[in-house]
């Protein structure tokens, strides 16, 4: 069953932020929640956490309304820093864990283990505001998981992390996954989604536009990507006349094109040979999520929506 969002709508004043959004997150999976800035991701997450209530529709966890699910089952990582800046790291994490019903001893034990693993043990007695952004984000992550919640809702957990720290966090993600936690997270780094997520949804202006498993989503696009390089003809203008082929990029190192799913890629090679081309590279690939995202969301969503949305 997992988390089921059914036809939710939400308006702020006259502005409809979420329109008839439905999605399903299977229990124990990592779920990528994608969308441009202001698409309604944060609002949806707040509704999942029962911080906001939808105007209509409902959200259930294993068939139970989310506001009936005990609070300690939820772990939330907000997009902006959600910590007391002037409070010590260890005191802060203990406070939040105990507020979520963890006993003092258990919380201390968990804290020691995680601070060690995240290599911020040296900073445990520092105030949060004295830490680097990356370390703050790690503390924020610990605040989310220390009470051992079942469902983790994370709003851009990877923002502000360097590749090393991003990797540490990714491993923590995978460990949470192996412990059977359900993880919902939003991000703009789509490579991570391809790497981590089973299922995704892409929303635009409050509506779901693509969803399913990463494989399905890619297949749904009904096309593949081909990359071609000809040593003697870098432009290869004749490609534009081929049916079922759409050139997307002419780069220095190769030409990238979308080809319809039913098109035999051999036709491209044959056409290249016919035009006397010397092929130094030809490869077939699935469309990346970045491509799909840009294509689906398009340019229209790029300007930021009113601040109410992103708040």
């Amino acid at each position: 069953m997992g988390l089921v969002v059914e036809h939710i709508n939400k308006s702020f004043a006259q502005f409809q932020v979420i329109k008839d959004l439905s999605m399903e997150v299977k229990e124990g999976t990592i779920f990528g929640f994608l969308g441009a800035n202001g698409a309604g991701k944060t609002t949806t997450m707040r509704m999942i956490l029962d911080i906001l209530r939808p105007d209509s529709g409902r959200i259930t966890w294993n068939g139970k309304d989310v506001h009936e699910v005990p609070r300690k089952n939820w772990g939330y990582l907000p997009e902006e820093r959600g910590l007391y800046p002037k409070m010590r790291v260890d005191e802060q994490l203990l406070f939040l864990a105990r507020l979520n019903g963890v006993s003092k001893q258990a919380a201390e034990k968990e804290l020691d283990e995680w601070l060690g693993r995240f290599q911020i043990n040296a900073n445990r007695k520092k105030k949060v505001e004295e830490l680097s952004k990356g370390n703050q984000q790690k503390v924020q992550f610990l605040a989310t998981i220390l009470h051992d919640p079942t469902i983790l809702v994370m709003d851009e957990p990877f923002s502000g992390l360097d590749p090393v720290n991003a990797n540490v966090l990714k491993e923590a993600f995978l460990e949470m996954h192996s412990r059977g936690k359900t993880i919902i997270f939003s991000t703009h780094q789509l490579e991570q989604v391809e790497e981590l997520c089973q299922d995704i949804v892409i929303i635009n202006k409050g509506q779901s536009i693509v969803q399913g498993s990463v494989q399905e989503v890619k297949r749904q696009q009904g096309r593949n990507v081909a990359r071609l390089k000809l040593d003697n003809d870098p432009e290869a203008r004749w490609l534009d006349t081929l049916e079922g082929v759409q050139v997307t990029k002419r780069r220095q190192d190769y030409i990238e094109m979308h080809i319809q799913a039913n098109l035999n890629p051999n036709l491209i090679v044959e056409a290249a040979l016919q035009h006397g081309g010397i092929i130094s590279r030809f490869e077939l690939a699935e469309p990346s999520l970045t491509d799909i995202f840009i294509e689906q969301v398009g340019m229209s969503a790029l300007p930021d929506a009113p601040s109410v949305l992103s708040a």
Partner: protein, 480 residues
Amino acid sequence: MSKKAVVTQEKELPEQEQRAVAVSSGGAANQNTRRNIGLIVGREYKNRVTQRSFIISSIVILVMVIIAAFVPTIIRYFTSTSNAQTKIVVVNNAGTIAGLNGDALARYIGTALNGTAAQATGTNTPGQNTSGKPPFAITVQTSNALGSLQEQVKNGSLNILLVLDRSTNQDLHLTYYTNANTTNDTNLSKVQVLAQQLNFLDAAHRLGLTPTQTSRLFAQPGFTVVNTGQGQNNRPVSEIAAGYIIAIAGNILIYIAVLLYGMGVALGVAEEKGSRIMEILVSAATPFQLMAGKIIGIGAAGLTQMACVVAIGIGALLLQSPLQAALFGANSGGLTLNITSVSITLLLLLVYFILGFLLYATLFAAMGALVKRQDEVQNAVAPLTFLLVIGYIVSYFGVYSPDATWMKVISYIPFWTPTTMLVRIGASGVAWWEIPFTIALMIVAIFVCAVISARIYRFGVLMYGQRPGLGQLAKLMRMK
């Protein structure tokens, strides 16, 4: 999942649809109210008392209180050492005055000016500048030294020269020589009073009245004040004075403390909102728990600070009596504060302070929840500050008319009860039932304000858009 669960959700659906913004009021968090409030109180308290600004402000206030307590003693110390003793030489050309002559006259003048049977001997007493020293030293000299005495006044070695003569109709005439500015010479007025007394006695003596007759002539009439009002008729004056001092001091204390810590609550809420930790907190505790924890935690920290100030202030005041005794001698008459006689007023001060703080703090918390950033707090709480200032100012009018009907009515209004009731209790005493009555009214008001504030808080803490208008506020509050 089970069918049962699904059915119950469907029943709740219509109600749920009415909610525009609702922070979870879920049952799970409710069960742990006491634990959560305890944790939040602990955090707020520790956070506040370890803040550098809190420690520094406490030290500054304490130093100020100690200085204030010592100021009278210090002033007295300096005035008594610099103004060592006022030397007066009396030249009596008037012969026997009111049957007194020579040393007897000097002794009488000394008694009248010093207020005690001090040493007014025929000879000067230069060696006597110890603690028991009276303010005036009287010496009687003969008229042939008049010229040199006048010279002494001129060059400052003699403070006052007093020459007594009789005019042609035998009335007394006094001439007062001084080097000091006569417009604000306190000695002059004292000597003038003395002159009047001497003149009366002398006239009476010349008319042939015996001292007994004279004293009967000037005896005070019997005059008894009977107050038929309730409560205070048998309170001794000293207790009224002490109660009054505590009421005024407590009034200032309440005003400052409520404003200071109420502001602390509003700023704290705004800070949590600004740093977005609120989003994490509301999924762990209910808005009511957050609000209550914050108010109690900050209130307890404030109470700690105030208790230190009051305790050290009283301690410093009590120290003044022995200190003044050591500096100025045994009967220096410093402030003697009888703590037991004012303990009830002190207790009421504490009760009204706590109630007043709780009442205002709930509203301050709601205001803090409505703003978007910390720097907007000042504007948002302005109406509350105004309300508090009114009560503070009105209480000073209450000093002059503590039993007026309008004053009673105002003191029953919970927002103004703490300051006005204290002054009324201090100034006149109130009917016993008024105290439980006002306390009960305040508790009701706190309850009502807490309910309203918790609702404002609930939707306010996560609202980052425009500040809602009054109409919208009322609408949102009616939602469950």
